[in-house]
Symmetry: C2
Subunit: 100 residues, 2 copies
């Protein structure tokens, strides 16, 4: 159940060398909840990503990318043709501004 986002949190916390409890209290959640974030058992909420970036003093954008990537991945693993789907999406993103 590991996630890119969760693995990043683990690594960041490892660098600071502090217990989950501390991060959890900064987020104002139970330590169990934060534990699940690290292990990919629960997704953090959007606002919590912001808080985590602040807590670990890193660029929010970077964390947000990993968080979003996990969400996208979650959709794709359900389907067999992940790559084809990605290219459909990529195309739609290019046509961003075009209305039909």
């Amino acid at each position: 159940m590991s996630s890119i986002f969760g693995n990043r949190l683990k690594k960041l916390r490892g660098l600071k060398n502090i217990p989950q409890r501390k991060v959890a209290s900064f987020l104002d959640v139970d330590a169990a909840t934060y534990c699940k974030f690290e292990n990919g058992d629960r997704k953090a909420r959007r606002e919590q990503v912001t808080l985590l970036a602040v807590f670990f003093s890193i660029n929010e954008k970077e964390l947000l990318q990993l968080w979003s990537a996990d969400k996208v991945y979650e959709i794709l693993v359900e389907e067999e043709d992940a790559k084809e789907i990605l290219s459909v999406v990529a195309e739609k993103i290019s046509n961003y501004c075009n209305k039909r």
Copy 2:
């Protein structure tokens, strides 16, 4: 609020030249619900995608791709760096089988 999936439904129904009401009753939902599918105001459920492929006699995989693409797109529009996120995902998909 248009969606790739919904636009495809519209086109398919146009070819058959039948009212929304008919498709809706095949799906066993209100016509209003199906109307929303076409206009991207509501997402169909996974099982409904299958039914729609049957109804329009097309390859389920194709419809499913569009349906998934919409879901992915929905996540990406919320964030600014859609393309970077996609490449993070693409990488994760390649490493499919690797556990860490």
